[in-house]
């Protein structure tokens, strides 16, 4: 795909950023390329280092009072599965740590794609590429947009997203996950 510009849907609950402006993605800069290869570890090396660090970190954890992700939200997401009756108190704690690792692994893989195309902004297409390249992430294929070059609906701020989106709608189909991830119903009928 040739498109480098992403639709910037307004984000509900926007957090303040010191850097106010959002930069457009830049085309590859050939002057940068020659200096990149010698300094970069391979993706495999980065991931090996990452997992070694996770094991060390897990051994040395002393503070279990604060989690990087709210346990109450994790419980709600777990409970979206109607078949789940009860969960032990430890289950959301383990998930909080697991999701932190998941976000980090996905970010490492996506950023490797950003760098490979000489970009400076980690974009949806980098995530789509990382997911398609990783076997354990196959379960995410169905919630990924078919064409990552197009803007997608913002769940957090549907109305704003709709106002800012181009006329064309691009809503990813959810053939398997409908019970657990309901997209809001927009004015136009979403493809099923």
């Amino acid at each position: 795909m040739d498109q480098n510009k992403q639709g910037e849907a307004a984000e509900g609950g926007n957090i303040g950023h010191p850097a106010h402006g959002k930069n457009q993605e830049e085309q590859s800069n050939p002057m940068i390329a020659p200096t990149n290869p010698p300094k970069k570890k391979s993706l495999e090396e980065q991931l090996n280092d990452f997992w070694a660090a996770q094991r060390e970190e897990a051994k040395m954890t002393t503070n279990f009072k604060t989690h990087s992700l709210p346990l109450s939200r994790i419980k709600k997401i777990i409970k979206t599965d109607k078949d789940v009756k009860m969960i032990s108190a430890e289950t959301p704690v383990v998930f909080a740590k697991a999701c932190e690792m998941f976000i980090k692994e996905l970010t490492i893989r996506a950023w490797a794609n950003t760098e490979a195309r000489k970009g400076k902004i980690l974009s949806q297409r980098d995530l789509v590429s990382a997911i398609s390249q990783t076997a354990s992430f196959d379960f995410l294929d169905d919630i990924m947009p078919k064409d990552a070059g197009l803007p997608r609906t913002s769940i957090a701020s549907t109305e704003n997203a709709y106002l800012n989106m181009p006329p064309q709608q691009n809503v990813a189909g959810l053939p398997y996950d409908a019970p657990t991830m309901a997209f809001p119903n927009l004015n136009h009928h979403a493809p099923n």
Binding site: A58, K59, S68, V94, Q124
Partner: protein, 168 residues
């Protein structure tokens, strides 16, 4: 569907971004669509693992999904890299949670040093699968806690009461 409930289906985006930034170079930027996509991926990940863990629970006719079920599901679904550090993490968590004085006294009375062996109440719940000596670097699934002695452990306050219900 109400907006509030929709929001509840995802991790708060501020938390997600904070985690991402810890792993990215300082100059890296994240597009808005990437932030939303990651939120969706995390929820999907939780649902994916939970469904597998719950299936195991139901096969074994248990009602409560435990941390061990989650770790088992991760290994089954190709997340072996996660199960190892999480097992260490869970072990540390139980050590930190096992602080009530009654537990410490009971362990001492039984001649057990908490720093050297696992608290006996772990064995009484039949979750020995992931127990192992923290000093060893290996990760294994064998149950090495068969010799838990007669009588087991009874405490006035049991922080794992909801796990005990598995046995009923």
């Amino acid at each position: 569907m109400a907006g509030v409930r929709e929001q509840d289906q995802y991790m708060p985006i501020a938390n997600v971004i904070r985690i991402m930034r810890r792993i990215l170079p300082a100059h890296a930027k994240i597009s808005d669509d990437a932030k939303e996509t990651i939120q969706e991926c995390v929820s999907e990940y939780i649902s994916f693992i939970t469904a597998e863990a719950n299936e195991r629970c139901q096969r074994e006719q248990r009602k409560t999904v435990t941390a061990e079920d989650v770790l088992w599901a991760m290994e089954k679904l190709g997340f072996d890299n996660y199960a190892h550090p999480l097992s260490l993490y869970l072990h540390r968590y139980r050590e930190s949670e096992g602080e009530p004085a009654s537990v410490r006294r009971a362990s001492s009375a039984m001649g057990i040093n908490n720093n050297m062996v696992h608290p006996p109440y772990i064995n009484s719940h039949g979750f020995g699968m992931f127990d192992f000596d923290p000093s060893s670097q290996g990760f294994y699934r064998d149950d090495h806690n068969a010799a838990s002695g007669s009588g087991g452990f009874v405490a006035p306050f049991d922080p794992y009461a909801n796990i005990k219900r598995d046995a009923l």
